[in-house]
C-alpha cells in the first residue's frame, strides 16, 4: 500500500481546500453589493470530493495513478487560478467588477440560465453541422474532380485560386442580400469556409498519389471509377484530413461572426447580446461553453482521424 501511494495525487485536493478556506474565511469586499450566492462554495466542495475519489482510486490503479500524478500540478494550478480570481474579484475587488465578475456570478448564470444556454448551443450546432457537412461534401467532391481530371482542373482551378482565399466573412454583405434568411446565409458562409481548404487539399492529395498505385490497380483489373474511389481517395486521405481540419477552424470563426451579425439564438448571438447589456458574467459563461464545445469537436475529429488513418506509420500528431 505504501508503495502505491504518490503524494502528487493529493495536490489538487490541497489546492481546492485552500481555495475553499480563502473563500469562506476572507470577508467579501465592502464594495460588493450583490446578493451572496453559494455556487463557488458548492463547486469547490464538489472538486474536493471528486479529487479525493480519484486520489483514492489511484491507490489501486497504477495507470490512473501515473496519469493523475502527471496532471496533478496542472490541475492544482488551475484551481489556484480560480482561487486567485476569486480573491481579485469578490474578496478584494482589484478588477473592475462589471467586466470581471467573480466565479460565483459566472456559476450563477449556468444554474439559472442553463436551459436557455443549451438552446443557444443547439442552434449553433445545427447551423455549424449544416454548413459544415455541405462544405465538406462539396469540398471533397470538387477536390476529387479537380485532382483527377485535367479538364475540371483547367476550368475550376483558377476559380478556386481566385475565390478560395477570400475569408468567407468578407462575403457577409453579399450573403445577407442573396439568401432569404440569415440562417441560409450563414450556412452558405460556413460551407464556403470549409469548402476551400477541403477542396485544395483533396485535389493536391489526389494529384500527388503515386502513379504506380494506379498502374498496379489497373493490372489487377480496376476500372477508372474504382481507381478513384478505391485507390486515389484512400491514398489522399491524410491530405484530405488536413483540409478538413483547416476547414473546421475556419468554420468556427465564420459561425461566431455570422451569429454576431444577425442569426438569432446561437451562442455567438448570446454573447453579443449579453455584452450589449453589460452582463459580463453571461459573456464569460458563453465563452466557456464555446471553448468546451469546440475543443470537444476537435478531439472527436482527432479520434476519427486516428481510426481512419491508423494505417499510417507514425501518424502526424497535432
Amino acid at each position: 500500500m505504501q508503495k502505491s501511494f504518490d503524494y502528487r495525487t493529493l495536490i489538487p485536493t490541497l489546492s481546492a481546500v485552500a481555495a475553499l478556506l480563502v473563500h469562506l474565511l476572507v470577508p467579501n469586499s465592502p464594495k460588493y453589493t450583490q446578493k451572496q450566492v453559494p455556487y463557488f462554495t458548492i463547486a469547490l466542495i464538489i472538486i474536493i470530493a471528486v479529487t479525493l475519489v480519484i486520489a483514492f482510486a489511484s491507490l489501486f490503479n497504477e495507470r490512473l495513478r501515473k496519469k493523475y500524478a502527471f496532471k496533478s500540478w496542472f490541475i492544482a494550478t488551475f484551481i489556484l487560478f480560480l482561487n486567485l480570481l476569486n480573491l481579485a474579484t469578490l474578496k478584494l475587488m482589484i478588477l473592475q467588477s462589471i467586466y470581471f465578475p467573480s466565479p460565483d456570478r459566472i456559476l450563477k448564470v449556468y444554474v439559472e440560465e442553463w436551459p436557455f444556454l443549451l438552446k443557444c448551443l443547439g442552434y449553433s450546432l445545427r447551423l455549424l453541422a449544416t454548413g459544415y457537412l455541405i462544405g465538406a461534401v462539396l469540398g471533397i467532391s470538387t477536390g476529387i474532380m479537380v485532382g483527377w481530371s485535367k479538364k475540371w482542373s483547367y476550368w475550376v482551378n483558377p476559380l478556386i485560386k481566385l475565390v478560395g482565399p477570400i475569408p468567407s466573412t468578407a462575403w457577409v454583405p453579399i450573403a445577407l442580400v442573396t439568401f432569404p434568411t440569415s440562417f441560409q446565409a450563414s450556412v452558405f458562409l460556413i460551407a464556403l469556409a470549409v469548402w476551400f481548404p477541403t477542396t485544395v487539399l483533396t485535389s493536391s492529395g489526389i494529384s500527388n498519389v503515386q502513379n504506380a498505385y494506379f498502374e498496379v490497380s489497373s493490372t489487377l483489373g480496376a476500372r477508372t471509377i474504382q481507381k478513384i474511389f478505391k485507390v486515389a481517395l484512400p491514398a489522399a486521405m491524410p491530405s484530405i484530413f488536413i483540409g478538413i481540419f483547416n476547414g473546421t477552424s475556419a468554420s468556427f470563426i465564420t459561425l461566431m461572426t455570422a451569429e454576431m451579425l444577425g442569426v438569432k439564438f446561437g451562442i455567438g448571438w448570446y454573447i453579443n447580446w449579453q455584452r450589449e447589456m453589460l452582463s459580463y458574467a453571461n459573456v464569460y459563461a458563453g465563452l466557456i461553453v464555446i471553448a468546451l464545445t469546440f475543443s470537444l469537436i476537435i478531439t472527436l475529429m482527432f479520434r476519427i482521424r486516428d481510426r481512419v488513418l491508423g494505417w499510417q506509420k507514425g501518424v502526424i500528431k497535432w
Binding site: E215, V216, S217, T219, P234
Partner: protein
C-alpha cells in the same frame, strides 16, 4: 511441371518511342518480333535504356506501341487487365489496406471476392505470409512486402506474370530465397512469366530463355536458351559458361556504344 495452354504471347513489329520534355523523340524499343510460349519463364536483361521495362509495360498494357502489336493467346493487348499481373521492384502495396485486404483487392474490385474468398488465404499461405494477414505494409520487411505483392498479382490467376526487377531492392540473401520461392510457385502454377532484371546470375538461375537487350538502338540483341536442368546450381560449369557468354554480348554492345560515343 504443369503445362498451361494459355499465356502465349506474340510480338509483331513492335516499336515504341517517347517524346522527351525537350521535344526530342527517343526510340525506346524497336524491331520486336518474337514469341513466348505458354508457361515459359523469360528474363529480359540489359543495361538501362535497352527498352526492357518498355517491353514489360507494353505487355502489361500500361502503354501502347506506336507500331505493331502484342497479342496474348491471339488477342491484341489494348490495355491493362487482370490476366497480366504485374509486380514492381517497389512492392507498391496499398498502405491503407492490410496484407489480407491487399491480396484480396483484385478479387474485390472484380466482384469475385465472395466466390473466391478461399483463394486469398491460399495465396497468402503460398508466399509464406500466414499470420501476417492483419499487418499493414509498413510493418513488413522488404522481402515480405514483395511476397505480398506477388500474392496480390497471383490471386487473379493471371495468364502472364510480369515482374519488373522484383528482387532488385532486396539484400543478397533474401533475394536468393525469393528466387527459389518464385521458381517453386512458377513450377506449381505454370504461369508464363516475364521478368526484367539487371542480374545475369538471376536470369540464368530462373529462366528458360533470356532476351539479351541492348540500347541504341533499343532492341532484343539475342535470345539465349538456358538448357540447364532444374534445380540449378550457381557454380556449375554450364552456368558459368552461359554467364560469360551473356556478359560478352552485353560488354560487346557496350563497347560498340562507347565507340559511337567517342566518335
Amino acid at each position: 511441371m504443369v503445362t498451361q495452354k494459355t499465356g502465349f504471347i506474340q510480338a509483331q513489329g513492335v516499336r515504341k518511342s517517347f517524346v522527351q520534355p525537350d521535344g526530342q523523340t527517343v526510340v525506346a524499343l524497336q524491331d520486336v518480333q518474337t514469341e513466348i510460349q505458354p508457361g515459359e519463364f523469360i528474363s529480359l536483361i540489359g543495361p538501362s535504356g535497352c527498352g526492357k521495362s518498355t517491353f514489360l509495360r507494353l505487355v502489361a498494357g500500361l502503354i501502347k506501341p506506336d507500331e505493331g502489336s502484342f497479342t496474348l493467346d491471339g488477342v491484341p493487348i489494348s490495355g491493362a487487365g487482370y490476366e497480366r499481373g504485374l509486380v514492381f521492384q517497389d512492392p507498391t502495396l496499398f498502405p491503407w489496406l492490410t496484407i489480407y485486404e491487399n491480396v484480396a483487392f483484385g478479387l474485390k474490385i472484380r466482384g469475385l471476392y465472395k466466390e473466391k474468398k478461399d483463394d486469398v488465404k491460399e495465396f497468402i499461405k503460398l508466399v509464406g505470409l500466414e499470420g501476417f494477414e492483419k499487418a499493414y505494409p509498413h510493418q513488413l520487411s522488404g522481402g515480405m512486402a514483395q511476397r505480398a505483392a506477388l500474392a496480390r498479382a497471383l490471386v487473379n490467376h493471371p495468364k502472364v506474370l510480369l515482374l519488373d526487377e522484383p528482387f532488385g531492392a532486396l539484400d543478397a540473401f533474401t533475394r536468393m530465397n525469393m528466387q527459389d520461392e518464385l521458381i517453386k510457385i512458377w513450377q506449381e502454377r505454370g504461369t508464363t512469366t516475364i521478368m526484367v532484371t539487371h542480374d545475369v546470375d538471376e536470369a540464368i538461375y530462373l529462366s528458360d530463355k533470356i532476351f539479351v537487350m541492348t540500347p541504341r538502338p533499343a532492341k532484343i540483341e539475342s535470345i539465349i536458351k538456358v538448357e540447364i536442368g532444374r534445380p540449378r546450381e550457381r557454380d556449375l560449369p554450364d552456368f558459368l559458361k552461359l554467364r560469360a557468354k551473356i556478359l560478352q554480348i552485353l560488354n560487346f554492345a557496350g563497347k560498340r556504344e562507347d565507340i559511337q560515343y567517342y566518335l
